[in-house]
C-alpha cells in the first residue's frame, strides 16, 4: 500500500490506487469474514469429532464400585436401665394356700377351673428353656427337653392327667417369660424364674421349689474370686433377668445383654465377654458344656427362690400347683428330681424349700 503511494504520481493512477485500495480493503474484510466462518467450520468439525470420541468411550465398561452396606449393629448387647422399682408385697415367697387336697390324678377336674380347661384341651402348655442344661434343655441325642424344671412340670401334668408327658413345650427366652403368661400363650412357666415382688405385680407364683443363688463364671485360671475383681470387664447376663438387674448394681463392670444364658456362653467362647453371671444352677449347666469355664467358688451373692409362674387370671391353678409341690416335697419326688439333675454339679440334696402361704389373690 505504501509502495503504491510512493510510486504513483498521476491522477489516473491515484484514482486507480484509491479504487484498488477500497477493493483491497473490501477483499480484506471479506477474507477476514471467510476466515472467521472457516474457523467456525473447523471448530464445529473438531467438536463433532470430540463428541464422537466421547460417545464411543462413554460405555467403557468401567463402573462405579458396588456399595458395601454398613454392617448392622449387633442386637445382642443391650443395656438400658430397666430395673424394676422396688415394690413391697410382703413376703414375696408367700403364695396361695391349696384348698384341701388335689383331686386324684386323671380324675375330672372341678368344673369352671383352669385345670378343667387344660384337661379338656388334652395337654399342658408350658414355657420352658431348651438350652439351660440341668434345668431345661433339649437333649440333642433324642430331641427331648429334660431337666429339673421339666420334672416339676411333669409332676403338674401327672396331677392333671395321670400322665407326666401330656405337655406341649414352648421354648421361650428369659425376657419372654412374663409376656407369654400375660398373653395366655402358655399355662405355666418353669424356667429358672426368681420370685420377687416386682414380678408379683404382673403374674402369680407357686411356692418356692428351689433356692438358687447368683454366682459368676469365668475362664479357667483367671484370678477372679468375686465380682469386685471384674472391674472394667465385660460381664454377660440375659436381658430381663434378675441376674441382669443385680449385675447393673456392681460399679465399674460393663454389662452385656443376651437373649439367654446360652447366648452368653457363645459370647464367652468367642471372647466377646470375660465372664457370665447367673444362678449357680444355670452356671453349672454352662460349665458342664465348656471345660475351660469355671464357676467362682465364693458363696452366692444373692438368693434366687425359683417359683412356677402362672397368669394372674387363674389363682385356682396356683393353689392346685402348690398342692402338687407340697406332695413332691414329702413323697421324695423332689429329691429324686434333684439327684438326677443337680446333685452331680451342686452336691447332695438340701432339704426342699419350705412352702410359705398366706397370700390372697
Amino acid at each position: 500500500m505504501s509502495r503504491h503511494a510512493a510510486t504513483c504520481k498521476t491522477d489516473t493512477c491515484k484514482a486507480r490506487t484509491h479504487k484498488a485500495r477500497t477493493s483491497e480493503a473490501r477483499t480484506h474484510g471479506a477474507q477476514a469474514a471467510r476466515a472467521h466462518t472457516y474457523k467456525a467450520v473447523l471448530g464445529s468439525i473438531v467438536a463433532g469429532f470430540a463428541i464422537l470420541v466421547t460417545a464411543g468411550c462413554s460405555g467403557s465398561g468401567v463402573y462405579s464400585t458396588t456399595p458395601v452396606p454398613a454392617a448392622r449393629p449387633s442386637s445382642t448387647p443391650t443395656s438400658g436401665a430397666t430395673s424394676a422399682p422396688p415394690v413391697n408385697c410382703g413376703n414375696p415367697l408367700a403364695s396361695f394356700a391349696p384348698t384341701g387336697p388335689n383331686p386324684a390324678p386323671g380324675s375330672p377336674m372341678p368344673a369352671g377351673s383352669y385345670m378343667k380347661t387344660i384337661q379338656d384341651r388334652g395337654r399342658l402348655i408350658a414355657g420352658v428353656s431348651a438350652d439351660t442344661l440341668l434345668l431345661g434343655a433339649r437333649n440333642p441325642l433324642n430331641g427331648q427337653i429334660e431337666g429339673f424344671d421339666i420334672d416339676m412340670l411333669k409332676a403338674v401334668s401327672k396331677a392333671i392327667f395321670g400322665d407326666p408327658n401330656r405337655i406341649e413345650y414352648r421354648v421361650i427366652t428369659t425376657a419372654q417369660r412374663i409376656p407369654a403368661l400375660e398373653d395366655g400363650s402358655v399355662d405355666i412357666v418353669a424356667r429358672a424364674m426368681t420370685i420377687n415382688c416386682a414380678r408379683w405385680q404382673q403374674i402369680d407364683f407357686s411356692t418356692e421349689y428351689y433356692r438358687a443363688g447368683q454366682k459368676v463364671l469365668v475362664a479357667k485360671g483367671s484370678p477372679v474370686n468375686s465380682m469386685a475383681d471384674l472391674k472394667g470387664k465385660r460381664v454377660c447376663a440375659p436381658n430381663g433377668s434378675t441376674s441382669m438387674d443385680k449385675l447393673r448394681t456392681f460399679p465399674g463392670l460393663i454389662p452385656v445383654g443376651s437373649d439367654t444364658h446360652t447366648g452368653c456362653l457363645v459370647l464367652f467362647q468367642q471372647g466377646k465377654v470375660d465372664a457370665i453371671t447367673g444362678d449357680d444352677t444355670i452356671l453349672a449347666g454352662l460349665a458342664a458344656q465348656d471345660p475351660y469355664a469355671y464357676v467362682v467358688k465364693a458363696p452366692a451373692f444373692t438368693a434366687e427362690p425359683y417359683g412356677l409362674g402362672v397368669s394372674k387370671t387363674h389363682p385356682e391353678f396356683v393353689r392346685f400347683v402348690n398342692g402338687g409341690l407340697a406332695q413332691m416335697r414329702t413323697d421324695g419326688q423332689w429329691k429324686t428330681a434333684y439327684d438326677s439333675w443337680l446333685k452331680a454339679a451342686l452336691g447332695p440334696a438340701p432339704a426342699p424349700p419350705a412352702a410359705v402361704y398366706g397370700r390372697q389373690p
Binding site: R3, R34, G59, P140, V171
Partner: protein, 450 residues
C-alpha cells in the same frame, strides 16, 4: 542476523521510511513471523474467490463424510460393546443370585439337619457342603468377572467365612450333645441374614442397574449415527445445490454417489440398530425379566425352607420365623406367576410351590396342635408328600427354568454381536469412500479454474 539488523534499523527511525526498508528487507530474507504471515496470506488466497469456495466445500464434504464414517463405526461399535457388556453384567447378576441361592440352600440344609438331632443325615451334609463350595467358587469367579464388585464380594466372603465357622462349631458341639450347639446355629443363621444378605441385595441392585444402563446404551446407539448422517447429507446436498447454481451443471456425479452411499448406509444402519433395540427390549422384558423373577422366587423359596426349620427349632416361640416364612412364600408365589407369564419354561413353578405350601401347612397344623414331634418328623421326612420332597420338586423345576431363561437371554444378546463388528467397519469404509468421492467431485469443478 538479518532479523536483528532489520529490527535495530526499524527502531527509532522515521516510521514511514522504516516501514519501507523493513518491508523490502522482509521479502528478501523471510523471518518466522514473516513465514506465518506468508502462509496465512497464501491460505487466504487459496480460499478466496470461487476456487476458494470450492476448496472450502471440498474440505467440508470430506470432513462430514469422515465424521459420518466414524459415527457409523462408533454407533455400531458401541451397540456391539453395550450388548457384550449387558450380557456380561446379566451373567454376573445370575452368578450373584446363584451365590445367594447356594447360601440360603446351605442354611436350609444346616437348619433342617439340625432338627434331626446330633447325628445329621449324610446326604443333607453333602448338600450343605456342595452348596458352600459352589458359593465360595462363585464369589471368586464374580470378583474376577466384575472388579467393581470386588469390595462388596470381599465383605461377602468375610461373612460367609464367619457363617461356615459358626456352623462347624454348631455341628461339633451338637455332636457332643451340648445344648450350646443350637445357639451357635441360631447365631450363624441370623448372622448370615443380617450381614451377607444385605451385601447380596446391594450386588444384585448394582448389576441390575448396569444391565439396564447397557440396554439403554445399545438402544441409544443410533443417535450418533443419525446425527452424523443428517449432518453429512445436509452438507453434501447443500453443496450440490450450490455447485449446480455456480457451474450450471445439474448433477455432480461423484458427490451424488457419496450422498446416496451415505443415505443408504444411514437408512440401513438405523433399521439395523432399531432391530437391535427391539431385540434388547424383548430380552429385557422377556427372558431377562423371567431370569430375574425365577432367581428371586428361588431365593425366597430357600429362605422360606430355612424359616420352616427355624420355626420348629424355636419350638413354640418361632412365630417370627413363621411370619418370615409367610412373606417369603408370598414372594415365591408372585415371582413364580411373573416368571410363568414371561416364559413357558417357568410354567410349572407355581404348581410345584403349591405342593410344598400344602406340606408346610400340615407341619404347621401339627406343631400348632401341640404335636411338635410329629411336625418335626414330617419336616425331616422324605416321602413323596413330605415338605422336603415337594420342595425338592420346586427346586428342580425352578432351577431348570432359571437355566433355560438365562441362556435364552445370553443367546439373544449374543446373536447380533457376530455381524455387528463387520457392519461397523463397513460404515467406516463407506465414510472414507464418500469422502474420496466428494473430494473428487469438487476437484473436477476446481480443475476448470486452472
Amino acid at each position: 542476523m538479518s532479523q536483528t539488523t532489520s529490527a535495530s534499523q526499524a527502531t527509532g527511525v522515521n516510521p514511514a521510511a522504516g516501514s519501507q526498508t523493513a518491508g523490502s528487507q522482509t521479502t528478501g530474507a523471510p523471518t518466522v513471523a514473516g513465514r506465518v504471515v506468508d502462509a496465512r496470506a497464501s491460505l487466504r488466497r487459496s480460499l478466496s474467490g470461487t476456487p476458494g469456495r470450492l476448496r472450502i466445500l471440498a474440505l467440508l464434504a470430506v470432513a462430514v463424510s469422515l465424521i459420518f464414517g466414524l459415527g457409523a463405526y462408533s454407533a455400531f461399535g458401541s451397540a456391539e460393546a453395550a450388548l457384550s457388556r449387558a450380557g456380561a453384567n446379566a451373567a454376573q447378576l445370575v452368578r450373584i443370585q446363584a451365590i445367594h441361592t447356594n447360601l440360603v440352600r446351605a442354611d436350609a440344609d444346616a437348619t433342617n439337619a439340625f432338627l434331626v438331632g446330633g447325628l445329621e443325615p449324610a446326604d443333607q451334609r453333602t448338600s450343605y457342603t456342595s452348596s458352600m463350595q459352589q458359593a465360595s467358587r462363585l464369589i471368586a469367579e464374580a470378583a474376577k468377572a466384575q472388579p467393581a464388585d470386588g469390595p462388596a464380594l470381599g465383605a461377602l466372603n468375610d461373612s460367609v467365612l464367619t457363617y461356615a465357622g459358626l456352623i462347624e462349631q454348631a455341628r461339633a458341639t451338637n455332636r457332643q450333645a451340648l445344648p450350646v450347639g443350637a445357639q451357635y446355629l441360631r447365631v450363624a443363621s441370623s448372622g448370615l441374614r443380617s450381614s451377607a444378605l444385605p451385601i447380596l441385595d446391594a450386588l444384585v441392585q448394582a448389576n441390575d442397574a448396569r444391565v439396564r444402563a447397557e440396554f439403554d446404551a445399545a438402544r441409544g446407539a443410533s443417535a450418533v449415527l443419525i446425527a452424523s448422517g443428517v449432518l453429512a447429507l445436509l452438507v453434501l446436498i447443500g453443496g450440490m445445490i450450490w455447485l449446480s447454481r455456480r457451474t450450471h451443471r445439474y448433477l455432480n456425479v461423484p458427490m451424488a454417489g457419496a450422498t446416496v452411499a451415505i443415505l443408504v448406509t444411514l437408512v440401513v444402519g438405523v433399521i439395523v440398530l432399531a432391530s437391535i433395540g427391539s431385540t434388547v427390549s424383548t430380552v429385557r422384558d422377556g427372558s431377562y425379566a423371567a431370569t430375574l423373577a425365577t432367581a428371586k422366587a428361588r431365593i425366597a423359596a430357600f429362605d422360606a425352607k430355612s424359616n420352616e426349620s427355624l420355626t420348629l427349632i424355636a419350638r413354640g416361640s418361632g412365630s417370627a420365623f413363621e411370619k418370615a416364612w409367610v412373606s417369603s412364600s408370598k414372594v415365591v408365589t408372585e415371582q413364580s406367576a411373573a416368571a410363568t407369564k414371561l416364559s413357558n419354561d417357568a410354567a410349572s413353578m407355581g404348581e410345584k410351590w403349591k405342593g410344598y405350601v400344602n406340606a408346610h401347612a400340615q407341619i404347621r397344623t401339627k406343631d400348632d396342635g401341640g404335636q411338635w414331634d410329629l411336625a418335626v418328623k414330617q419336616a425331616i421326612g422324605s416321602d413323596p408328600t413330605s415338605a422336603n420332597a415337594t420342595f425338592n420338586a420346586f427346586d428342580v423345576a425352578s432351577g431348570a427354568a432359571l437355566t433355560s431363561n438365562s441362556s435364552a437371554a445370553a443367546d439373544s444378546l449374543d446373536a447380533p454381536r457376530t455381524w455387528l463388528p463387520f457392519i461397523s467397519w463397513l460404515g467406516l469404509l463407506v465414510g472414507i469412500a464418500a469422502a474420496v468421492s466428494a473430494w473428487w467431485g469438487v476437484s473436477l469443478r476446481l480443475e476448470e479454474y486452472r
